[in-house]
Structure formats: structure tokens, C-alpha cells
Amino acid sequence: MNAAVSNGGRRWLWLTFWILVLFLYAPLVILLIFSFNDRELVSFPWQGFTFRWYHTFLANDILLGTLRTSLKVATGAAIVTTILSIPASIALVRRQFFAKGLASGVLLAPLVIPLVVLGTALLILFNLVGIPASPVTIAIGHIVIALPFAILTLVPRLERIPVALEEASRDLGAGWFITFRQITFPLLLPALFSAFLVSFVISFDEVVVASFVAGDNVTFPIYLYSQLRLPRQLPQVIAVAVVILLISAIVVIVAEAGRRVSDRHLEAEIAVNEEEVSLS
């Protein structure tokens, strides 16, 4: 007998699951369908199938410019976030130290701050110190937001990498850098890739903090937000949106699949690495 659920309960739970999936995905599918609707207003009635909006957005320089700004900001933010998250998560997983709770609290605190507060806080900081608004100021804010997510992506993977491997390397005379480069880094790589993607996605989608510190630098979410309030070119914006939606969904699924494969190989890899360590 299954203690968690009866047969009737099981059917009921599966029904709930599929209703939730429908609830989660139907709006996205509707967005996809309407991106092909041949009508200026994004609503019923259906007036025929068209690729028009996809053509117009490819010719819209303002829109493409905002996409370029967002790509720049997100790439920069994701690179710095990933680099910062490596030493942070190694310290949190591998080291014992006084006030560790405080340190992890500070590093993870941006998880629980309303973004409107972070936006105002950075606006005051940049104005006070005299740093002009630029893609860099946007990226700075996004790194603060993404860092906890990157750390929480690396921590579970680091915990699964046996300390013994690093110790063996040290015992054989390798310095900390060689140990990191030869042992920890390669085993951490899949998680680093995930951390990069998560940070990229967070930055590419972020609108609140960006709108406070962007100045004249319009990112794609800021542009999208202004289009939603005063719709002028909404259909082509939706077309871009659909493209982004599909790309991000594919990237996430591929990354997750890759992470799982690499996790399954982790034990094997470790065994091989242990062998190499003992041979060298």
C-alpha cells in the first residue's frame, strides 16, 4: 500500500497537475498564436495568419537597439556574477569560520528585498558618488540581484564534490590554484554554466531596478514596459517576445538536461579523477 496517496487521490492529484500545467502554459501559447494575427490591436477577432510582425521588428532599429543594450548588460552581469559566486560558494561550503551565518545572510539578502527599494537605493548611491547612468550601472544592480541565485546554484554541486579529491591534490604538493584549476573547476563547470545562464536570464528580464538607474539607456524590458503602458507597436513587440520566449525555454531545457547528465556522470568522473590523482 502506498502511504502517500490512494488510487483515487492519485487520479485527483494528476488532474490538478495537468490543470496547473494548462494554467501555466496556455497564456504563453496564446501569445504565440496572437503573434501571427494580422491585426494592429492585440485582441480578437482573428484576421488571418501573417509573418508581418516578425518582418517589421527586424526593421525596427529602436527595438533592435534595446535588444543589443540588454544583451550587453546581461552578458556583462552574468560574467561578473558567475566569477563572484565561485569564491563565495567555496567559502560557504568548504570553510568553517566565525560569523558564517552572517556572511551567508549578507550574500543572500538581495533575495528578499523588494526591487523598488534596491532601485531607489542604487539611484541615490550613483547620484551621490556621481556615477553617470550607463549600461554598467544597470549591470551593477543586476549582479546584486543575480548573485544569490548563482551562489545557490553552485552550493549543491560543490557539496557533492568530495573534499578528499582536493585534499589528495594538496597532499601531492599542488598549490591551491593548481588544485582549483585541475580538480575543483572542471567538476564545478556544469554548475558554473547553469549559474551563468540563470544570471543572464535574470538580468535580461529585469525591469524595476533597470528603470531607476538606466538614464537614457533603454533595455528591452524597459522598452517592453513602455509599450505595454502606451501600446503603439505592440504586435511586433509580441513577435520579438515570442522569439525570446522560445529561445530562453530551449536554453533552459537543454541546460537542465545537460546538468542532469553531468550529475549522473559525476560519480564516474570522480572515480576516474581519483585514479588519476593516485597515479600521478
Binding site: 496547473l20 563565495a88 558564517k100 551567508s104 523598488v116 534596491l118 546584486v144 524590458p221 517576445a241 525555454a249
Partner: protein
Amino acid sequence: MATEAVAPTDPLEPDTSRRRAGSGRWKVTGGLLATPMVWVVVFFVVPVIMVGLYSVGAITLLRNDHYMSLEGWRFFISSDTYLSLFWKSARMSLGVSISAVLLAYPVAYLIALVSGKRKYTLLLVIIVPFLTSYLLRVLAWRIILGEGGIANTFLQTIGVIDEPLKWLFNSQFAIYLVLSYVWVPFVALPIFVSLETMDHHLLEASSDLGASRMRTFWSVTLPLSLPGVAAAFIFVFIPTLGEYITPQLVGGPGGFMFGSAIQSAFTAGLDWQFGSAMAMFLIFAVAILLAVFGRFLYVKSVRE
């Protein structure tokens, strides 16, 4: 996700540097932590302190700021409008967090305890929408709920209603629905983790001792998953307190929230001191919530 945060404090994790002497250990730890900590302190902790200083006029940047004055706070506290906006936002956060948890719990339960080997695939199916654009998901709901939207058109076509339903769009209902929609995938994660990490033998033990499934759920499963539920709740409740984007886009005139007031004080209103007072008030509210519920964010597992 929430529950993984704890792992760092696990005392069972051996220390790689145990061969090194006192001050050397500190140097290594300090070296590792220095850059990320400096980043978070400089671009997060210090700016938040500055908001506090700005709200009392210790920092002034605009011409209409009052040097060393509680004018911003006085204006905020004495006006019923802004305090009641805060409570409106708090009610919205509460409603959204509760409905997101209620929607996510049965599904997290199914994935963690019933679905067997496919559970990570199913979890991914639930989480993927969270990783797609926030604004796009809000936009999709405008197409569904709006005046000439799909919901009204559909209901009129099948003859359930004659007039378009007004409460579907530009309403509190729309705000609650869309925000719950946005947060459900994120909420499912910590609840799943708490159900997944609990000792599943306890369920068998409970049933061996003669408890019904209902009894097992209420006396064993639910209490053991409460830390995950609390973590999920707080992870939705706190960010939603300052939320103004979705209410503005789907809430109509009633979509002006506490976050909107802060945002407009800094942009249209150009009264940064008043805006800082409200932002600081929000930080205090968050700090109180974290003091009460924060421990749930640091529970590694609910085993034993």
C-alpha cells in the same frame, strides 16, 4: 532553493585547511569572501543605509530636500493615504502568497511523493514558465482578460454571459490572478524540496501503525513540509510588498500600490526624501518579517 541555503553551515563538512594554522585559515577564508562581500556591501548594504540617511535629510541631493529633517517621515506617517496604500499592498501580498502556496502544494506533493522516477522532469515542466519573461506573461494575461479579450469573447460565444465581465480586467481580481500565476512555479520549488528531503519511511511507519492516509498527511507529511511552505510563502510575500508593475498593467485605477507611490516619488514627484521614508518603512517591514520567519529559510532538511 531556499532550503539549500543552509548547506554551508553543515558542521559535518570537513575543513580542507585543517592542516594550516590559525591566521592562515583566516587569510584564505577572507580572500575567498572579500570580493563578493565587498560587492554586496558597496552596492546593496551601503545604498540601503543611504536610503535611511536620505529619509532624515542627512543626505540631500535635490533642491527641495530639507537638511536634517523628519519632514518626509512626518508627511508619510500623518497621511492616511500612504499608510493605507501600504496595507493594501500587504493584503495583496498575503492573498497572492496564500493562493500561490495553495495552487503549488498539491502539485509539489504529487511530484515529490507520487510521481516516481519522472519527478525532475515534471518539476522542470512547472518551473520553465518562471524562467521566461515576466512582462510577457503579464502581457499574455492582458490578451486573455482584456475587454475584447479571449475570456470574455469565449464566454459570450458559448452564451454564459451577455455583457463582458467587468471584473475580469483592470480589477483587483486581475492583479491577484496574474501575480499568483507569476509566482506559482517559484513556490513549488521549496515545497518540493521539503517534501522530497523528508524521511519517506515515516509515511510507511505511520501507515503500519494504523493511521489512515488522511491522518498520515495531517500528522506527519504536512508538519514536516511546513518549513518549505513557510520559505515559499516568505519568498513571494516580501518581493510582492513592493510590486507595482503588474498592478499598473492589469489593475486599472485600483492598481496604484505602495510600490507605485515609492516609484512615483522618485520619478514624477521628485520628492526623494518622502520616497526614501516610504522605502525605509518597507525595509523595516521586511526586517520584521525576516526576524519572525527568517529561520525557515535556513532549515537544511526536516529529517529526524
